[in-house]
Symmetry: C2
Subunit: 104 residues, 2 copies
């Protein structure tokens, strides 16, 4: 559940969302999106936590190019549009370059 | 609950942890650490989500220097040591430069 990423540098997409009360299909879509992410070229791993109010998903990629390709992915876009309408009351996405990491 | 950060670039510290079953003082310490973080020079915001297994906290800072100062903070160090022993079965910290963001 902690992504086994290679030594930096690599890229992270931090997606923070405020959930609405609607759960209509959200869980199965989230799992499907994660499956799709794993199939993307350059995918390095994903970490996710969700409580009643806030969800944070961090996806790791080897390059900005991988992130762009993922964004352009049609099915992902469909989920984003539906997310905008139904599942989230707000979200923020941050594209980051991981410069250092350490673990225990 | 979504941090109101300024336009990029800025820095993010992504802290992903696997929780142990022990909750002895964890919640109050986590709140205390967040208060301390807010007092740090260069602090821009924090986002946090925690479910039964995984916790993700993302702290935002204006510079790498702010992150270093925070790391050196004694009380933070104490909480880290205690966290290592009691609250977490594993964690990973990633220091990232936020290059782009967008929201809804």
């Amino acid at each position: 559940m902690i992504a086994q990423t290679p030594p930096p540098p690599y890229y992270a997409v931090v997606f923070t969302s405020l959930r609405s009360d609607i759960d209509n299909g959200y869980s199965s879509m989230a799992m499907y999106m994660e499956e799709l992410a794993r199939e993307q070229p350059g995918f390095l791993g994903v970490e996710s936590s969700r409580d009643e109010a806030v969800g944070i998903t961090v996806s790791y990629c080897d390059s900005l190019e991988s992130i762009k390709a993922w964004k352009a992915n049609m099915q992902h876009t469909v989920a984003q549009e539906r997310g905008r309408a139904e599942w989230y009351t707000g979200y923020k996405t941050r594209i980051c370059k991981v410069e250092r990491d350490y673990e225990f």
